[in-house]
Subunit: 420 residues, 2 copies
């Protein structure tokens, strides 16, 4: 019998280190050629499995796979696509099995966040329900850091390092200029539901009074008056005020601030951009000169300032996923287990996908200061190790030298197409 093959797919929003997990998966699979035949990747994630658009990773050189470790985003393409339940869309699962059977795929590695681990869990169940033996292992990934059970999510540490670095640097700028120019600076960061990335901005404030002065969390309903008073007080005391705000900031009625204010010339609501809303509020009510920045994809793609810890964990999760599969596990996911914070010691653990799927880990209230505008010492103790260490990519002609894979398609074996 031919050696079983494996399938790997990237899912959901990409990160600076999801390719480091891919690197861990592929390099580990290559070390076990006696047990795993080919490792196929889904072009555009799970869509690649449904449409039988598989990439043969064996066509990539060792150097190219090694370079994945320092290349941001999803080298095989990712997808925002959630499988429905087996009852609602049995055809999708039957198609997956058709493709897996045609290509002798017995291992399924799915690299994503909460929604994706739900998909991974559902796929893990089809072995029993549709009588096709497949071992399914999830690999955690999300900049939002909102997966349960794991100490942190690969992808988060690097975005955390980026936003803390960026707000510190912008803070030095504003401090220089405040006497005659900009007095209030607002940086908008990701994290629509959970304030982990907003909290990470607070790491820059490692001395009393240091930047950022105010954080606006999605967990804390926005109170304009209280906020404006704090801004005014900060400008009067320090000469300037630097603010980090979550894209998911909501008012007391649960309405996103980003959708509340701005309209284009045609009267349509402007999607996205809470920073300009906050900045305009400061101008209208306090009259201070302001600047604002929206980092958007820059923050989650910023491999040039990735956390060494994050890269190592991302790689370790990919490696562990293959090792778990080879040990016979199904419906599991490797996690990061923290042994201690100072010094930071972590190891790889394992949890059941059934316990992971569709749960969000929110920022605990005791990670936010009582006034709602900052992070506590407990939060700092948790976050600090996750941004530790640098892992600069190689540079060529002054720019990070990232790899683009050949991504050669596996010849199709099925006669039927599948419409997704």
């Amino acid at each position: 019998m031919a050696k079983p093959n494996a399938f790997y797919a990237q899912s959901g929003g990409v990160t600076a280190v999801i390719n480091a997990s891919a690197c861990g998966v592929i390099e580990t699979a290559r070390k076990h050629r006696d047990k795993i035949g080919k490792l196929y990747a889904g072009r555009h994630g799970i869509l690649g499995a449904l449409t039988e658009d598989l990439i043969d990773t064996s066509k990539e050189s060792e150097a190219a796979i090694r370079a994945l470790r320092h290349t941001p985003a999803g080298a095989f393409g990712s997808a925002r696509y959630k499988l429905k339940g087996l009852e609602q869309n049995r055809a999708e699962y039957e198609r997956l099995i058709d493709v897996f059977r045609a290509h002798n795929i017995r291992y399924f590695f799915y690299n994503g966040g909460g929604d994706s681990q739900d998909t991974a869990y559902k796929v893990s169940q089809i072995g029993e329900q549709l009588a096709y033996p497949i071992q399914c292992v999830g690999i955690p990934k999300t900049v939002d850091n909102d997966l349960p059970l794991t100490d942190c999510c690969p992808g988060f540490g690097s975005v955390a390092k980026y936003v803390a670095t960026s707000i510190r640097e912008a803070g030095f700028d504003v401090a220089s200029m405040a006497k005659t120019s900009t007095k209030v600076f607002v940086l908008e960061v990701m994290g629509r539901h959970a304030g982990w990335i907003t909290a990470a901005c607070g790491l820059a404030a490692d001395k009393p009074g240091a930047v950022p002065h105010i954080l606006l969390f999605p967990e804390i309903p926005f109170e304009p008056q209280k906020f404006l008073e704090r801004v005014d007080q900060t400008v009067k005391e320090k000469g300037y005020c630097v603010i980090g705000v979550s894209e998911g900031l909501q008012d007391a009625e649960g309405k996103f601030l980003s959708e509340s204010g701005l309209r284009d010339a045609f009267g349509h609501a402007q999607l996205g951009g809470v920073a300009p809303v906050i900045a305009n509020l400061v101008r209208e009510r306090l009259g201070y000169k302001y600047h604002w920045a929206v980092a958007d994809y820059l923050q989650r793609a910023a491999r040039h300032i990735a956390s060494r810890t994050d890269v190592a964990q991302a790689y370790a999760m990919g490696k562990a996923a293959v090792e778990f599969a080879l040990k016979g596990h199904n419906a599991v996911m490797p996690i990061v287990v923290r042994k201690s914070s100072k010094p930071y010691v972590w190891k790889v653990g394992m949890v059941s996908l059934a316990d992971v799927a569709n749960q969000e880990k929110m920022l605990p209230r005791d990670f936010i200061t009582p006034d709602g505008f900052g992070i506590t010492a407990k939060c700092r103790r948790y976050l600090e190790p996750l941004i530790a260490g640098e892992d600069f990519p190689p540079f060529k002609n002054g720019l990070p030298d990232y790899v683009t894979l050949r991504n050669i398609a596996v010849p199709k074996k099925l006669k039927t197409a599948f419409k997704v």
Copy 2:
């Protein structure tokens, strides 16, 4: 007679490397203690001179001064303040001389852009006109790269490296996601009048078809129809489209796009933010899902990804300024002279401030492709050496370890205050 003292001030918008110039000035002055007594810095630039708020840099340790080389923004505070002509505001010049005389200041080093060099030039003239001997040397600085005569301006190479790196990284992200999500990404960069920073985005496109696909320069009037056709064509061919846009993009009537569209809930125009205007236009007319980012101060403060070439030139300009002064020059500015592009060889030159003041060096038309959406090979040849090499700052606890100086004030000697 007491040794003459020197005055150094930072002026205008700060950069990732203006402190490297300060480092060059101070370290060089310290090597010539036989000729220069104290080096005073103006707190908040020229305001420090007018208000007799001088910082005694001799109170800073060698290590602190060395750390200026890797610290962004203006360590002594900068100012947006332009001196009027001697005829319009003689009182200001007389005050400067009062302060200089009281503190035996005979050297004036002024670190800034076009406006600032105009101020430096005016100050250089007061020796003759108001009978106070002072040697005045400008030090070039501006992220906009718009000073004439010098090959480039310290500060520009680092912002260029940042925007090219950022748009490349965001491009990898969008490429991963485009199949099921974002198809158009817009990054807004600085450079209100000259498109040098926009052009620098184009450095990321070092292979045919690579990101960015479209650049929108302030020098090229925006034609919505032509732009939308190119976006549509790019998405259809490549699956996605990445755009770099100058904050100073104007329509055919010379109106800033950033001021043309968005209004807040009260109907007030939203200041700043051409990226959301462009992104909304794409959504309205083509229906593609988009994301946008506005880097704002992040780009000019990003010392963590500074260009090694830029840092070296910034330091060299500061060092040369002191050396020029010691050789007896007045009303001059050191510049970067390019000897060759491949390999990149440069040396320090000298020009007269009279030739520098109030001139803007625009992006030449032959640096922009005929269609107006990209950069030419000639432009790339000019830009590439300026982003070459990395010069990472030291990191501590996962973040760049920047210095904050003690900035101890020199005791005042004048009895009168001065209102600016």
